[in-house]
Symmetry: C2
Subunit: 251 residues, 2 copies
């Protein structure tokens, strides 16, 4: 079944050819995205398409210099967006009540389901994608760059383009590590050892430990990749963004 | 192309046959979910599978009595989950710094991409799904029911089963209403009228206006479906959940 194969064969692509994406393909991919489920059929999201080379160059900086932003022909930015819906309500004389945290989260869910549909559709066309976590860390910069009004917050972003390499699929934890039946079954120390065993024994992991001179893969995450200091900093940036974009009027 | 067709033909299914889902199909669908992109390959999510009839009956109440929760054979609950990752870090002597808002949002993104992949995979097998927005409104109740520890918050849920009817696809706004190029182009009053025209003129809309004796579809949303009062209430419930589950230590 092609759909299942598309999903099972997902790989993050980090090197792209410069070949452009045909507008007809791009439009079909986006249409496939807009068929995703959406809360109350409100479609409280927007997508920003970046093709312009100069724009991609500037955006690459905010995305911590990840080179695929410059290299791939298209960058997509998915936003939680109540701006359009609010404007519609006001224009019809209805009073919108969507300036609160729940509404932000609802719109984020909408935007993320669209993003994933678009990603899957792109891969069905032989295109590759790479999600950029930097979109939430630097949300304030992207809001400024894209000139997003109140009610709009970027929540996901990925590049699309034709792959210039064919990497291995990334490893994943065994399913038993992430699926629960009927109740959440908390993890014993033995469960944790078993679930992470394969990942910890990968040659890639061994290489990382040597390079970083750290005692475990977990230390690579806590001390190098996703440190408390960075997480706290970006939490406050993002919470300020929610306030500034009008999503924190919770009383 | 089957994948694109699967995506374009998505319909929310609200009536289900009682036929069970074969475990092999369910496992393949879940595996397809776990191939979704995940931040730093941390897989900070969990899925809870509910098949038990009594559990579905009880959960139906928390889902505002939406009958498909009782009717469909499987209910899936997708959680932002740093519990497993934190336990792993601690067991290896690394100090996790994931008790903050950014980490919650990162884990939510992870969980939502998995959810959407699982939904698409289910539809490829001829199954139907229906997302339940109630999962975030009643997050505190679901945490209690499923016995979720700190670090775990449910962010999406849907039922899966074999469709007992074949509804029309839902309407969607024209693509021009949700796509922006290079910069966010804010909406003029004329844009809003044009974007919402088709939706406002649907027979379904006319029926709703008559039934509710309201002047516009926008009023149906603001006064009936998603009111400010409810949104503020559920914002506070959800923010308290984030605090209680250990995701609001932002300093």
């Amino acid at each position: 079944m092609q759909t299942i194969e598309t999903l099972l064969n997902h790989k993050t692509i980090r090197n792209y050819k410069s070949d452009p994406i045909d507008d007809k393909i791009l439009n079909t991919i986006l249409e496939a995205g807009f068929r995703a489920s959406t809360t109350g059929n409100m479609q409280v999201y927007s997508v920003i398409v970046t093709k312009d080379e100069q724009n991609r160059k500037e955006l690459c900086k905010f995305h911590f210099g990840q080179k695929m932003v410059e290299q791939a022909p298209v960058l997509l930015t998915f936003c939680a967006d109540f701006n359009r819906f609010n404007k519609w309500c006001e224009q019809r004389g209805a009073k919108p009540g969507y300036d609160n945290f729940l509404s932000f989260f609802t719109a984020s869910i909408d935007a993320l389901l669209v993003a994933q549909n678009v990603g899957v559709a792109a891969e069905a066309y032989g295109l590759g994608i790479c999600y950029l976590g930097t979109i939430t860390y630097m949300a304030d910069k992207f809001i400024e760059f894209f000139e997003m009004p109140k009610g709009v917050v970027p929540v996901a972003s990925f590049v699309i383009g034709y792959p210039a390499d064919d990497p291995e699929r990334a490893d994943r934890l065994p399913a038993e590590g992430v699926v629960h039946y009927e109740k959440y079954k908390d993890y014993s120390p033995g469960d944790i050892d078993r679930i992470y065993e394969e990942k910890e024994n990968l040659p890639l992991t061994q290489k990382l430990l040597e390079e970083n001179q750290l005692p475990s893969l977990a230390h690579i995450f806590t001390e190098k990749r996703y440190t408390q200091k960075d997480n706290v900093h970006f939490s406050n940036v993002f919470l300020k963004v929610l306030k500034d974009q009008g999503f924190m009027n919770n009383d």
